[in-house]
Symmetry: C2
Subunit: 139 residues, 2 copies
DNA sequence: CGAAGTGTTCTATCGTGATAGAACACTAAA
DNA sequence: TTTAGTGTTCTATCACGATAGAACACTTCG
């Protein structure tokens, strides 16, 4: 499915859900009118408490990204796309910055930091490529 | 001084202290026989509860990086250098990886991620340079 | 109608990081 | 010896994220 939880992320579970919904909207994976998984369903899939999903969906609703259709579910609003596209880079940038600041303040040379990032980036690409070719055509 | 706390880091305060001590040892800023700031002094400097510093120093002592000289203070052990040098890259790598994974799973192209990192890296360099030239020669 | 599915709102409990304040054993220096 | 500074070890309390379980209003479908 769309979402996955990483417990060692440094981010709260509800925050990871919020961000992933936003990213999905920004990238077109989730479009206006689409319905997100129900509270109970997503909670089951992520092996997480329903209240944690409620918290995430509540935040998203308050931000105007989701809207409730009572008795039916939550769907992505029209405004969501612009909102999420605008926010996505900022959200990622903030995390990137924190890590780089720590690396820099640990007296790592800029070149060493760049090398470290490059290593992990290529490793990530390899993993993604391997996954694509693993079982059945995905495209 | 050596240490600084970032509240929006995603890392617990005690963990930030632990990491910064390790990084300082790995980079030679802190050498075997050097004494770390006293619990109460560091707590005051960081505007943090003494128990939080105790927690950090306890972890470091249990890992063999610091040793207590009762009534005097805590100093860096001989083994610390090897231990911290070996650990430093791994600690940073883990955080880098988490961020890159999130960026990648947000459907950002590798090139876009690289660009984002590069932007923040140069910004970091500019800031460091600005600070150096700000007040009195540092070199 | 009734059953099953939505979101929503409660209360209670738990773990953890952090704070607050106190006490203890020890050592160095006046 | 006294004083002031070490680390160490308690107990309590708080905030917050997460869990657990329940109830409510609503809509869809048989």
């Amino acid at each position: 499915m769309f979402f996955s939880i990483n417990p060692t992320n440094g981010l709260a579970i509800f925050d990871q859900i919020v961000r992933q919904v936003k990213f999905a909207v920004a990238s077109g994976t989730l479009m206006p009118g689409d319905m997100v998984p129900s509270v109970r369903e997503l909670a089951k899939e992520l092996a997480v408490n329903p209240n944690t999903v409620v918290r995430a969906y509540r935040d998203l609703t308050n931000e105007g990204i989701l809207e409730a259709v009572r008795g039916t579910g939550l769907n992505v609003t029209e405004d969501a796309v612009a909102h999420c596209e605008k926010e996505r880079l900022g959200l990622l940038r903030e995390r990137v910055r924190h890590v780089l600041v720590e690396a820099h303040s640990s007296r790592l040379e800029t070149s060493e930091i760049r090398e470290l990032v490059e290593e992990e980036l290529t490793r990530l690409e390899r993993a993604a490529k391997g996954k694509r070719g693993k079982k059945g055509a995905d495209s």
